[in-house]
């Protein structure tokens, strides 16, 4: 187990290097636009453009730029944004809480709603409750997130003159109520699609487990139905759920951008978007790397968690 974890960890730097290489050279592909173009005004002369290129370090050969970037990175210097010439990290750091909260709440809603309904529908298989929730789940997976989110802007306003709070992110610990007033409704909607998937997965996994011998044995031993579900079956169906969770969080990066955009919240998603369409290389490079690290670490933790969930899982 420990050896497996160590080996996976050793693989991390390789992924980081691979991701950095791919990112860096893709951005500077021959098809990409010159960032200096976008920083120039109508009166900017060719000499001024050359100067800007020099200041941004874009006049050096690309491999050399890569070495410089990697060197800076190793020293903890993430560079400055092209557009505003500000250090990259504080820009990201200050937006992290927004995106983190959106992800956290959406994932929580998906999981809580999804697993709860999954258990209910599995236990009450082929009853009306089962059919009803399965029906909704199929729809939940099909409706675009942005469709639900724009309805949240439009309908309450038409009906009750209600608007979501405006004025940006309010730190949770400063004013929990205002914070939740802003984030709860949209993240609940954002989590619905995930909840639907989660519910269907939980249900089918549980049904499969129910059919297995040890559950039958447990039942035969006279344990009450509910206890069987909770003690044995659920524990055994955790692995697919946790696996799904990983992919779900990754997919939510997109959902978070949509939410930020519609609700005018200045989070990491919007920052990424704006940086990407303005060819702000230092930001894009680092954000790609940063998300990659998070995703890879998350996947690793998920793999390792299998062993805790199910002691039969052995890594060699």
């Amino acid at each position: 187990m420990r050896q497996y974890a160590l080996r996976r960890m050793a693989f991390l730097p390789i992924i980081v290097v691979a991701v950095s290489l791919i990112t860096f050279f893709t951005l500077r592909s021959p098809f990409s636009q010159d960032p200096v173009d976008l920083l120039s005004g109508q009166n900017t002369t060719v000499e001024q453009q050359e100067l800007m290129r020099h200041e941004l370090g874009l006049d050096k050969p690309v491999p050399k730029q890569f070495v410089i970037w990697m060197g800076d990175l190793a020293r903890g210097d993430l560079g400055h944004t092209f557009r505003s010439n500000q250090p990259v990290w504080p820009q990201i750091q200050s937006r992290l809480p927004v995106t983190f909260e959106i992800l956290l709440l959406a994932v929580t809603f998906s999981t809580v709603i999804g697993v709860t309904l999954g258990v209910i529908t599995a236990v009450r298989q082929n009853t009306r409750v089962d059919y009803l929730f399965r029906f909704f789940a199929v729809f939940g997976q099909s409706v675009p997130e942005f469709f639900l989110l724009i309805l949240l802007i439009v309908l309450p306003s038409i009906w009750w003159n209600y608007s979501p709070p405006v004025g940006g992110h309010i730190p949770f610990f400063r004013d929990p109520l205002e914070n939740l007033r802003l984030y709860l409704p949209p993240t609940l909607l954002l989590g619905l699609g995930g909840a639907a998937t989660m519910m269907r997965l939980t249900r089918s996994t549980l049904l499969e487990v129910f059919r297995q011998d040890y559950v039958r044995t447990a039942r035969a031993k006279g344990l009450a139905g509910r206890a069987v579900v909770l003690r044995h079956a659920l524990r055994n169906s955790l692995i697919p759920i946790v696996t799904l969770l990983g992919g779900h969080i990754t997919a939510l990066f997109f959902g978070s951008l949509i939410l930020e955009q519609i609700f005018s919240i200045n989070g990491l998603g919007q920052f990424f978007l704006v940086s990407a369409i303005t060819y702000d290389y230092p930001v894009v490079q680092f954000l790609v790397l940063y998300t990659a690290l998070i995703v890879v670490t998350m996947n690793l933790l998920i793999d390792l968690s299998y062993a805790f969930i199910d002691p039969r899982v052995k890594y060699s």
Binding site: G41, Q42, S84, N85, I153, V166, I262, S264
Partner: protein, 568 residues
């Protein structure tokens, strides 16, 4: 001359596409757009008279802010809409922030309102111009905001000198070419006197795109001018509001500056912006009183707000100054004036106004109708740029031997629905004159840098002009050079270029205005390829508790210190 960066001007007049999913992205990219929209934005405004729904035609009638009622409430905070995220708060690194702070945080020597066209002194107490190449400005007493390292010291002539010199050197924001081509030097012989020397006469020197630009003429402390980067974190000016905080370029907070040079002003205790990218969200926020003012995008939104809130809101209406234009090419077979005239005659401006703004708009010449002194009369427009005659157009095209078998590109920036809609309307109207046109939507940055500035298009570009306070800015497109670059349409006409240069030297206002009108007529005769079509009649809705608004004075209204909030 009209020369600043397209987007400087664009934001300058702020009527950038109101945030839509897509617009906000494109605009956000360039960190454009201020709070609110047009210049009559933001609780600035002094005119208490509710010119409710009274369209301001031509030169506005509203003069200086009227005297204020006795029971002024001096503690309100005005909340305006911000429709895009700013890249930086540094006024020299973001055009949007440069303008926003220019109106609220920084002071200026003078400003020229659009209705009168006559310069009004701000910090300046007198401006003497002994000859066209020199002028001397005396300044009054004022103080900087009380923040380290300036600590509220007095504003001196040296600060003004440093500010102009520093602004002229900025490459990331382009001021107009006045800064590089006309301004020779600025001196400060004593603490309250500044002398300007020009390289060549320019009658538009005091206009709001040149020496009176809210961007470049902002008075910044000398020490800060030496360390421009410090403005990434803190802003110190001598304007009526001081900077308090922001959240990564959004949701700005400003508070009243108690030692502002006009005693007792501003009435507002604070000015704040709220990021609202989607127009739908902004409408919802306005109705829920989360913001105090909003520009409806069109007639329907305005009518809906009026129906919903009735007397609880005031709606001001005014002619917008963004001219929607069709830019053809100005070289090769397009050089024949008949071609441009034919294209212009193929366009159905009434249909454009109906489709884009539900009938609320006006046909416009090169200088929009808002400038009554310099724009062409309705009749003159109808005889030239406003003419519609499809049969005649077809005849002219044939006579000119224009190649209609070829497919031409029409490039527009992908920046929200209005750009795409206009492009589509132009395509369908030109199709009636047998033009084969392929619509090409381009990424904004690419469109701007390559298609517009570098003239990389085979047929047409469509876009709205910016909204200037300065009438001369509209005619610059007929010159051989626009800013520092060759004419965007490749149009090189000696006559027009000569007229354009000549009017700058006419110091008499009446004669110069006539020259501006003449250039517009000549541009029609000679087939200048920037074809004006129409302007929108815009509106601003404010809750009735917003008192002391100013309308019809262009960006001048943004300097108003007599607006206040009276929630009763």
């Amino acid at each position: 001359m009209t020369t600043d960066n397209y987007w400087t001007r664009r934001i300058d007049r702020r009527r950038v596409l109101a945030g839509t999913g897509s617009a906000a992205i494109g605009v956000g990219a360039f960190a454009l757009t201020g709070c609110g929209d047009d210049d009559d934005n933001g609780g600035s405004s002094g005119k208490a008279t509710p010119t409710q729904a009274g369209v301001q035609i031509g030169t506005a009638s509203a003069q200086t802010p009227t005297a204020v009622a006795e029971n002024v409430k001096k503690d309100g905070t005005f909340r305006a809409r911000q429709s895009a995220i700013y890249a930086s708060i540094n006024p020299y690194k973001g055009l949007d922030s440069g303008l926003l702070w220019g109106f609220y945080i920084y002071d200026h020597l003078w400003y020229t309102p659009l209705d009168t066209g006559i310069r009004e002194n701000f910090l300046a107490t007198s401006i003497e111009q002994p000859d066209p190449l020199h002028f001397t400005v005396k300044i009054g007493e004022s103080f900087f905001h009380d923040k380290a390292p300036i600590n509220g010291r007095k504003v001196t002539a040296l600060d003004v000198k440093a500010s102009y010199e520093t602004a002229a050197k900025q490459t990331k924001i382009s001021n107009s070419s006045w800064w590089t081509q006309t301004l020779e030097k600025v001196d400060a012989p004593d603490a309250s006197t500044i002398t300007f020397t020009l390289k060549q006469p320019d009658a538009w020197t005091f206009s709001s795109t040149n020496g009176g630009s809210p961007l470049g003429s902002s008075i910044i402390p000398e020490e800060i001018c030496k360390d421009v980067d410090s403005m990434d974190r803190e802003l110190i000016g001598s304007g009526r509001f001081q900077f308090v905080s922001h959240e990564n370029g959004t949701n700005f907070k400003m508070k009243r500056f108690d030692k502002w040079r006009i005693k007792g002003e501003p009435y507002l205790a604070g000015f704040e912006t709220r990021l609202l990218q989607e127009q739908a969200a902004a409408l919802a926020a306005f109705s829920a009183k989360e913001i105090d003012q909003l520009d409806p995008n069109n007639k329907l939104e305005r009518e809906q707000l009026e129906a919903k809130h009735g007397k609880d809101i005031n709606v001001d209406r005014f002619d917008r100054r963004a001219v929607w234009q069709v830019q053809a090419r100005g070289d090769g077979q397009w050089k024949d004036p008949r071609v441009i005239q034919a294209i212009s005659m193929s366009l159905d401006r009434q249909e454009m106004i109906q489709l884009m703004d539900f009938g609320e708009g006006k046909v416009s010449g090169i200088v929009p109708p808002a400038f009554g002194l310099q724009s062409l009369t309705e009749k003159e427009v109808a005889d030239t740029w406003g003419k519609k005659d499809l049969a005649e157009a077809t005849k002219l095209l044939t006579a000119a031997g224009f190649d209609l078998t070829k497919e031409y590109e029409l490039k527009y920036p992908v920046l929200g629905n209005r750009y795409a809609q206009f492009a589509q309307i132009v395509q369908s109207q030109l199709a009636k004159a047998n033009f084969k046109i392929k619509l090409v939507g381009e990424d904004f940055g690419k469109w701007l840098a390559q298609s517009l500035y570098a003239s990389d298009y085979s047929g047409f570009l469509t876009y709205p002009s910016l909204e200037y306070d300065d009438p001369s800015s509209y005619i610059g497109t007929v010159g051989k050079q626009i800013g520092g670059r060759p004419n965007w349409a490749g149009y090189q006409n000696d006559t027009l270029d000569g007229l354009l240069q000549a009017q700058k030297g006419i110091l008499d206002d009446k004669l110069r205005n006539a020259a501006v009108q003449n250039i517009q007529k000549k541009a029609w005769e000679l087939g200048a390829p920037f074809i004006p079509t129409f302007i929108q009649i815009g509106s601003t809705a404010s809750w009735a508790y917003v008192k002391g608004r100013v309308v019809g004075r262009g960006s001048y209204g943004l300097f108003n210190g007599k607006a206040y909030i009276d929630k009763g």
